[in-house]
Symmetry: C2
DNA sequence: TTGTACGCGTTATCAA
DNA sequence: TTGATAACGCGTACAA
């Protein structure tokens, strides 16, 4: 706990509070010639109108002079609220999450809440530990980016009545608020883009189907392909959202025959696809087009620059925080599901398929402006 | 605060604790037929040997059955320790910091501490707010990644006796522990690498000189150049650690005449250099070699892959956390300065200078294995 | 409008 | 070895 060994600046008030530590409510009250209870009321926004204006002014002046800051711990003990929110992410080191967390922190900070984070590494044991740690810390609510489609820990926590918002990933059969990207539309637009370029033989390297992003995107891919009368059978599910998994998955697809385009479940998988293509002596986009998902930082500087579905990560975080704040303030009680619009950012990794390139695009990657949202 | 509306699982103990909420120490004590003080002693590692072994066992059994978890808020109020550490970073969204934060969190978590983070955006006002927020939250200590060389806020906080460790950036004239990379050696090795390739006209796009990383690397650059009898005059200081600033700085250098190699203060500045070169019709590494600093994720997949100085970010965080833990436990009282070794990762952005390339490397980027640490 | 009294859940001090 | 009691700093019925 931070201590102040001595008062700095300002001539100390007539009565020196305590001996050395930071001033307490009683110190303020005493210096203002008023009872602690009155000082408390004067300092608290919600109760300040119970106090005569001049008293309020005096108390506040004294508090400012003494540099008084309410002890949040004592307050929490009294109010049973910690003004603290827990955030669970798989891995802060994954570029997808920092912007989300930042959005959450910025939004919650403006409401006076502080954020505790825990990394779960997609490990059930670590996840359980993380939830328990948050509970032990008495967080007022939870923002969860680690949800599985079928998630017992989540269900149990929700059943306990813990205010909770899911972000990025959602879950099934659970009446809880969530904020995610409109993945289905994002995938549909991607398929559309590739078809417009002339592709018909399109494969999908899907993310793990235990998480909503993997499952939703896979389903959307199949639907979009069928809608256009194309085969939706070239799908391989990757072991996880990693470059290695993406590489392995695409290699498996290539074994049969290389498609002319691949839609990856996310950008890391797409990077793995780059590796697989290089190993197979195939070039992107000349032989095979590749599309990612999330539009991670730097992804536009790769070789070739990756076409990807842009997810507004920061806004995802902000919106999740808002939903939680609404819930914590008691304004909203019924869960809401928010889908944020995505946009396709077309870069150099997508081009017409080889068969067409002779007449259509003459070897130059097609540059298409992103569809308006 | 998390509540349990009802007891799940387990047949409840004979006496139902409270009405519904989570069990308190008194509940455990009562159920174990013992006084609350005794229960407290039995449950606390440090004091359990003051209690008869059988009593300890009984209390612990009851606690486990009831699912008792000590209320950290009440404990903090009593002990004046929050088991919480504040981490101040410029911007979590900058790829440099997530690994550091993760390292800190992992190390502190294993000691039972929780981390609060705040982003300062290198803005003095936000920084002051961040420090104040941490103080208000009663953190037991601080890990600071936002230090300026001359940092009043830092000095004031240190003077107040707050346990504190600096990470990545250090400060001047302040007796405080810090963990950083051995930047001077890193830069020296970079210069050596370029000179080995045949470069003599080497420029430096320095980071802001108000922060230690900028100043140290700039000084190291000048020293290394002079040591080799080369001119150390081609230095431009960038406005900040951003791509835009790097671009502007290199453009300024190019105005005179393009150097054959540029050492950037960090990877983002190096990316800006890529932009400046492209705009100027110069190719990397054919016309100008570029070296970055930090070895950010994905940087090896750029075009061309960026040669960079690898900084062990995660370890930086771990080490900083260790230093703070040592301080908090009272083991170490005298500040320590830790420098972690760096390594140069040579990739495709560095090659012999144009004049030499005719005879030496025939246009192919030179690939040099990294020096052994 | 302000003061009194109490309790939030825990640990520390003292006494038994 | 254990129990009684107080106190950490604050908020809030209730009384005045």
């Amino acid at each position: 706990m931070l201590r102040r060994p001595d008062q700095t600046g300002h001539e100390p008030a007539a009565t020196l509070p305590h001996v050395a530590g930071r001033p307490t409510l009683r110190d303020v009250a005493q210096a203002a010639g008023v009872h602690a209870a009155t000082a408390s009321r004067a300092l608290n926004e919600a109760t300040r109108d119970l106090v005569r204006p001049e008293t309020v002014a005096r108390v506040r002046a004294v508090a400012a002079e003494l540099g008084y800051q309410a002890n949040p711990i004592a307050r929490s003990l009294k109010t049973s609220r910690s003004e603290t929110v827990g955030v669970l992410v798989p891995d802060l080191t994954n570029p997808l999450f920092p912007p989300i967390v930042r959005g959450i922190e910025d939004e919650l900070a403006s409401a006076g809440y502080t954020v505790l984070t825990a990394n779960t590494d997609n490990d059930p044991r670590r996840t359980a530990i993380g939830f328990a740690a948050m509970q032990a810390r008495q967080v007022d609510g939870l923002i969860v980016a680690t949800a599985l489609l079928d998630d017992p820990v989540l269900r149990e926590t929700a059943a306990r009545g813990v205010p909770m918002v899911l972000v990025n990933r959602t879950t099934e059969r659970l009446d809880v608020s969530s904020v995610a990207g409109d993945d289905a539309t994002g995938i549909a637009r991607t398929v559309e883009h590739l078809v417009d370029l002339g592709h018909t033989d399109i494969a999908h390297v899907a993310g793990p189907l235990e998480v909503s992003t993997g499952a939703v995107r896979e389903r959307a891919f199949r639907a979009a392909m069928r809608d256009r009368g194309l085969s939706d059978s070239r799908v391989v599910v990757a072991e996880g959202y990693s470059e290695a998994a993406g590489r392995a998955a695409l290699l498996e697809i290539i074994t049969t025959a290389p498609p002319t385009a691949v839609i990856a479940g996310n950008d890391l998988l797409a990077l793995g696809c780059y590796d697989a293509l290089e190993e197979s002596g195939l070039r992107c986009p000349d032989d095979v087009s590749v599309v990612g998902f999330n539009d991670m930082p730097l992804i536009g500087r790769l070789r070739p620059p990756l076409t990807s579905v842009r997810v507004p990560q920061y806004e995802l975080g902000v919106e999740a925080a808002r939903l939680l704040l609404d819930r914590l303030s008691g304004r909203t009680l019924t869960p809401r599901v928010v889908l944020l619009p995505l946009s396709l950012v077309v870069r150099g990794s997508t081009a017409p398929p080889p068969a067409r390139r002779g007449r259509a695009a003459a070897g130059r990657p097609a540059v298409v402006s992103p569809p308006t949202p």
